[in-house]
Amino acid sequence: MPEETGNKNPEIVGFCCSYCTFKASEMAGSLRMKYPEGIKVIEVPCSSRVDPAFIIKAIVEGADGVFVSGCHPGDCHFIKGNFYTRRKIAALKEMFDAFSMKDKLRLFWVSASEARRFIDKVTTFYNDIKEKNNEREKA
């Protein structure tokens, strides 16, 4: 990735389910597709392993954004894990909304074969955060 001078690159933490999204990110790697360096992927056994406390901790400790990503609803390796994730993250989003930082959290579903979708999703997220940070710096 060519670095633009002057702008701080955002750091994004991603919690990825090891059966779907993490596999997709590995596939993206083996296909030599690129996504921004600022994205730090953390492998979790299931997206419902992510306690919203992890997300809050990541944000408080300096991450510019956090995403949680797992299998499509209904495709969970553990049958119903991602339904719980959906509820938890929906509530956490509402809480972030109350603190006016809703843009820092995203949830998406990426299955193991969707390497391109993974790249798309994380790159858009990265660019959105970068744009917001730049705007804030200017203001």
Partner: protein
């Protein structure tokens, strides 16, 4: 709704009757020399008070991990305390079998920190005292449910000042049928009406940081919260709030930091963890030595988060807590 009109002294009689059994206890309020406080009665009532206009702590706190069999505990508490009890039952912290929970209409309370000597303890005088919403705690002035409509039975006060006892469950019916008098249709309009809706909570991190600037991380708010029940809290270890070497390592990696560290982390995580079960009683604010407006945040956030699932903490025993259940077809706009 059917209920029984209570003559004066009838509640005390019924409770004394109940207490005659050696295995029975009543958790209620006692009039002391310096105000009213919680009391666990055994044997007989003594200076019993039906209402308590001073809020010190939420009594559901004392009921956590109550699993005993064969004895009976009657709770004669405020609606917020009964609602916290209901949540704890759902969280399997209390065995429901041996508890009869009676919620009593609440007029609002004053903080125990600024104890006012002129607060009356009689129900009929309290209406006048709390006519002005500024005279009560902020948490009470925005309370979501001050009516005694939760638990197994409720003590309601009608517009002419008469007391009613209304059963909501089978256990409540047993209790009420032990009281003298005939079942009558209770009036729909009681003295304490449904609470008005409050505005959606909205704040930014700047205000949040300013409000929590004073926090000294004593964690009294966590310890006094009736629904913050984890034995092994995530903040007890080193992972979230590093101490000693772990703290120094962290500072070497990230840079200088204000002490105590992790105020925002602690409060935000706790806010999320109790979001679906918070009853908005304000016990956290009561316990805070620094006077941080905790209720504003915890109640505001929990109301919004409960709104996502149309849930209300403590409303009924049958509604599961949203995080432990799901529907396959819901929250279509949750993902981006």
């Amino acid at each position: 709704m059917k209920g029984k009109k209570l003559k004066s002294g009838e509640i005390e009689n019924a409770l004394n009757q109940f207490l005659k059994d050696e295995q029975h206890l009543v958790l209620g309020f006692k009039k002391g020399e310096s105000g009213v406080s919680h009391q666990l009665f055994k044997g007989a009532l003594d200076h019993y008070s039906l209402v308590n206009p001073v809020f010190g702590s939420n009594a559901a706190l004392y009921l956590r991990r109550l699993f005993s069999k064969g004895l009976k505990v009657m709770l004669m508490l405020r609606p917020c305390e009964i609602r916290a009890y209901v949540e704890l039952v759902k969280l399997t912290q209390i065995e429901r079998e041996d508890v009869v929970a009676v919620s009593i209409d609440c007029f609002g309370t004053v903080s125990s920190k600024e104890k006012k000597d002129d607060v009356p303890v009689e129900a009929d005088k309290l209406t006048g005292y709390f006519k002005d919403k500024d005279s009560m705690r902020w948490a009470c002035s925005v309370c979501r449910e001050r009516r005694g409509v939760v638990g197994d039975a409720g003590v309601r006060i009608d517009k002419s000042g008469d007391f009613w006892m209304v059963p909501y469950t089978e256990k409540g019916e047993d209790l009420v049928s032990g009281i003298e008098g005939e079942f009558e249709e209770a009036p729909a309009d009681m003295l304490i009406a449904e609470s008005a809706k409050t505005d959606k909570f909205q704040v930014d991190m700047g205000t949040f940081n300013k409000d929590f600037e004073k926090c000294i991380m004593c964690m009294n708010c966590r310890d006094m919260c009736p629904v913050c029940y984890c034995i092994d809290c995530v903040f007890n270890g080193d992972e979230y709030l590093p101490k000693g070497d772990a703290l120094l390592n962290k500072v070497f990696r990230t840079g200088s930091t204000q002490m105590p560290r992790g105020k925002d982390l602690f409060h935000l995580i706790r806010m999320y963890h109790v979001s679906q079960t918070c009853v908005g009683c304000g016990a956290c604010e009561e316990a805070c030595p620094q006077g941080i407006p905790l209720t504003k945040y915890f109640k505001g956030v929990s109301e919004r988060l409960q709104g996502v699932f149309s849930y209300m903490s403590g409303r009924s025993f049958d509604e599961p807590i949203p995080y432990v259940t799901f529907l396959e077809d819901e929250l279509k706009d949750a993902m981006d």
